[in-house]
């Protein structure tokens, strides 16, 4: 008996494998839906050069359709450019319908899977898809509808369409009602996500309302629009064979030389000489790409992997910047002191990458002294909240000796105390360990770069911690002199039976000895205070144009 081979649509595949894209549990479903909607809003605002203002509502509305699940409503409203009515079904109801796929930009979304998966999840668990209201500046009225995914055909189906008057000129509102579980705090918490999103998006005004609580507003701390660098053509060394062949098909009748020179960065005439030396037939360069067989294209791929090329440009990488981070970090709560560090974009594993670190000590942290610090991980400015164990960021934090920067740290673990360590990795080509993009692959080069950033941020933090430690030392020393001096002298007196006159003289001697130590501690505190003031002065200088240069010098010296 033979079985009939069938093919399934992309939507069918994802609808059966939603756990792969962030819907493996109720908690994850809430967070993934929220995250995908917010990512889309932020990307849309940045593309249209609008300062984003996002309003979020999350609430538990009823019992869920499944056991141990609640029915959750998530609504995200933005002030972005809005979607045309024609685009709505593509965006919310069709998988892999992305405008961002493979364009080499540091955008949050890339493949066009996430928001369609959120629609599918709502559809599966609540029999309703996404409820969307959209308006572009050109539209007279807003367009309102419900979208569902046609699982068999991978297309979006519009339902209950209408035109309505809306209180804003442009923007998108999307609402999902689905089975999920609300977790507010902790690694997988909604508040942790919102806190992280506000940290790495200083230009974002965020208003959120959870259940019946009063709405919370996090005002933007920067009015500067994020300048997203233009994408650059891919670098041959960042590609896999399959991607190379697929890229080739876009060039059809263009010659191989044209394909290589215009389809990639860092390939020029000199590269062709190298390729010839590596055994590539020169004649092929003049042949149309479409006329080359797959075996020949494989040989081209192999040769170009061997060729020596300049490292990819780092121009395409976006940095949040130390000035923005230093303002944004204060939105995490009341901060005792903090340190931020923005590394210059560099090349890791042949891909451009920028690493930034912010460390803060919070005044009202829930963390006890021996609780692990809160770690916020970001990839392309999106918080990562699951599967942290194998993540490059966590591995890097664990591998550093934080004791030398004044933090407590159990052996081979993350440090402890009321601190937040936020680490952002930005790159057009982040290598994740899984499709739900929760864990950054820990390659040796990336871990080394992360370590450098963390150590430099640690050195800056140490100036604050050191001053505090010196103050504590001096205080402790002063109290030691007062408390232990009499106990020591009287104890010696009782054991030896020495007369009072001798004990009085010994007391004077003891005060002299300990007084010398106190003077030394005062000097150490004065030195630490000077160092800390220098650091504060530098942080205050972030708005000045000259800052970048002086800080470059400083980070070289620190390293």
């Amino acid at each position: 008996m033979t079985s009939k081979i069938t093919s399934s649509s992309t939507a069918e595949y994802f609808s059966k494998n939603l756990q792969q894209v962030g819907f493996s549990s109720g908690t994850k479903a809430v967070l993934t839906t929220l995250k995908e909607a917010v990512d889309n809003s932020l990307d849309a605002c940045e593309d249209a050069e609008i300062l984003p203002e996002i309003h979020i509502e999350i609430e538990k509305v009823a019992a869920g359709s499944q056991k141990n699940m609640d029915q959750i409503r998530v609504k995200v409203v933005d002030n972005g450019p809005g979607l045309s009515a024609e685009d709505v079904p593509h965006v919310y109801g069709e998988y892999l319908a992305s405008s961002k796929f493979g364009r080499g930009r540091c955008s949050r979304g890339q493949q066009g899977i996430g928001i369609s998966a959120a629609t599918t999840w709502a559809q599966i668990t609540n029999a309703h898809g996404a409820r969307v209201i959209t308006k572009t500046a050109k539209m007279k009225q807003a367009f309102k509808c419900e979208i569902e995914v046609d699982i068999k055909k991978n297309v979006g189906i519009l339902k209950e369409k209408s035109n309505i008057n809306w209180d804003r000129d442009h923007g998108v509102s999307c609402e999902f009602i689905f089975d999920g579980r609300m977790q507010l705090n902790g690694d997988a918490g909604i508040l942790t996500y919102l806190q992280g999103t506000s940290l790495v998006n200083p230009h974002l005004k965020l208003v959120y309302k959870i259940n019946d609580e009063e709405p919370v507003t996090l005002e933007r701390v920067s009015d500067e629009l994020i300048q997203i660098p233009e994408p650059v053509a891919p670098h041959p060394h960042t590609m896999k064979l399959g991607e190379f062949l697929a890229h080739g098909t876009l060039f059809g009748k263009a010659t191989l030389a044209t394909f290589l020179k215009t389809g990639f960065s860092r390939v020029n005439e000199a590269t062709f000489t190298d390729l010839a030396k590596l055994g590539l037939k020169k004649a092929w360069l003049k042949e149309p790409v479409s006329s080359l067989s797959q075996t020949e294209m494989k040989a081209v791929f192999a040769a170009i992997q061997e060729a020596k090329l300049m490292a990819p440009s780092t121009r395409s990488v976006l940095s949040i910047g130390e000035d923005a981070l230093s303002k944004s970090i204060r939105r995490l709560g009341e901060v005792d002191f903090f340190s931020v560090l923005s590394r210059k974009p560099t090349i890791c594993d042949a891909k451009p990458v920028a690493v930034e670190v912010a460390i803060a000590r919070l005044k009202n942290s829930k963390n006890e002294a021996d609780d692990p610090v809160e770690v916020l991980r970001f990839a392309n400015r999106v918080p990562l909240q699951f599967d942290k164990g194998a993540c490059a960021i966590l591995k890097s934090i664990e591998s550093i000796n934080w004791k030398s920067y004044g933090l407590n740290q159990p052996k081979r673990s993350i440090p402890t105390g009321p601190y937040v360590i936020a680490v952002s990795v930005v790159s057009p080509f982040i290598k994740f360990k899984n499709a739900s993009k929760e864990t950054i692959d820990a390659s040796d080069e990336l871990v080394a770069e992360l370590r450098l950033a963390l150590m430099q941020a640690g050195q800056r933090l140490a100036r604050f911690v050191n001053k505090e430690k010196r103050e504590f030392d001096l205080e402790k020393k002063r109290s030691h002199i007062e408390q232990f001096g009499p106990i020591l002298i009287e104890g010696i007196g009782r054991i030896t039976g020495a007369p009072r006159s001798r004990l009085d003289k010994a007391s004077e001697g003891l005060l002299k000895i300990l007084g010398r130590d106190e003077a030394a501690a005062e000097d150490a505190l004065a030195h630490a205070t000077t160092k800390q003031k220098e650091m504060v002065k530098k942080l205050d200088q972030y708005d000045e144009d000259e800052f970048e240069k002086s800080e470059d010098d400083d980070s070289d010296a620190d390293a």
């Binding site: 002199i481 408390q483 232990f484 020591l488 054991i495 030896t496 001697g509 000895i513 300990l514």
Partner: protein
Amino acid sequence: MAEKTVEKKKRLTSGSEITNLAKQTCLGMLADLEKARRPVLEATKCSLDNSFYNPKVGYLTPGDKKVRSELNVSSVQKMSRSVFFMEILLRNIEVGAVNTKRELYYMAKGMCKKDALYKPLDFEDQAESDEIVDFIGEMLEVYREDLNCYANDRGGQTYSQYLIVEETLPNGEKATIDLSMLGTSPFQPKNRPQNLKLRAKKKIEFCMVVESEGTANTLVANGFTKRYNNIVIGSGGVPSNAVRSWCKLIQKELDVPMFFFGDLDAYTIQNIYRTLKAGSAASLIRNSDYSAPDIHFLGVLPEDIKKYDLNDYPVKEKDVGEARSLKKAADALKNDPFFADKKNKKLADILRWLVKEKRRCEQQAYFSVDPRDPTMIEKILVEKIRKGNYV
């Protein structure tokens, strides 16, 4: 039989000597303070890097390294605590009171609670007060027992038909214990061997220290002490101070051949047997009284596995404890002066064999030789002694 080790000169241990030494130390501190000089308290460093094996005496002795505590604002707390505890211990010596470390901890806490002056000295946990008691002992070079601070008397259950122990009680009275009169109960040695005198009703042929107290009990129950003029001691794992000093006393006073019967594994050789024979790095200043250098390792020997067809096992490297023991044994072969000395070459060879082969054989494996004969194990042990089949 191997040559006997030579006794070292007697140390000071009397209460008045210790009180005098403590007073001298405090007078030195006072004189320094009067001249506004920083007093320094110095103690012998008790660690492996300050341990030397002296083959003439047969135990680990301390080198020149010292732990120094100079008075400054950071160490003034430790110095105050040392003087505070010295006073408590000297008072105990004066009135003849004894305490455990745990009791001393609570006594110190009580004093800190009742007197506001002492409040800053308060101890967070027993580890803090233990550190001070140990420091005083190492500084004065006396045992904690000399300071009337006793450990729990663990292990050392002793059986014999011919041994008589005479104990001098704190009030000076004498108590005589004839071990043959104790029925099936063992004699439990005390931590202060200087209060005990030994004599034998009849010449004792040998003393057998057995790693497992259960196996020691089995040997006795099956008549081992009735058939032979011997002493059987159950060491109960790593020998406590009481067991070590008891073995030393038997070796010194009765001059009988002494054998150790235990497992063939890295932990037993490197930890249990080495501590019994040569003392430990932690007790460097006490090893002269807390080791029995003339003891021999009777088995299980590597060759016994084949000779008696004993069941042995591979070391489970996934087992944290067993893997740690192997690693410690490998370290000991490199760094422990006891195993580096040619006098102990045969033991080092056994340890090397264990590290290489990664196998172990328990002492109870002898029971597999003839399960029907309850006296088989004692026959094997006696045969090994007679044939000189030991290390």
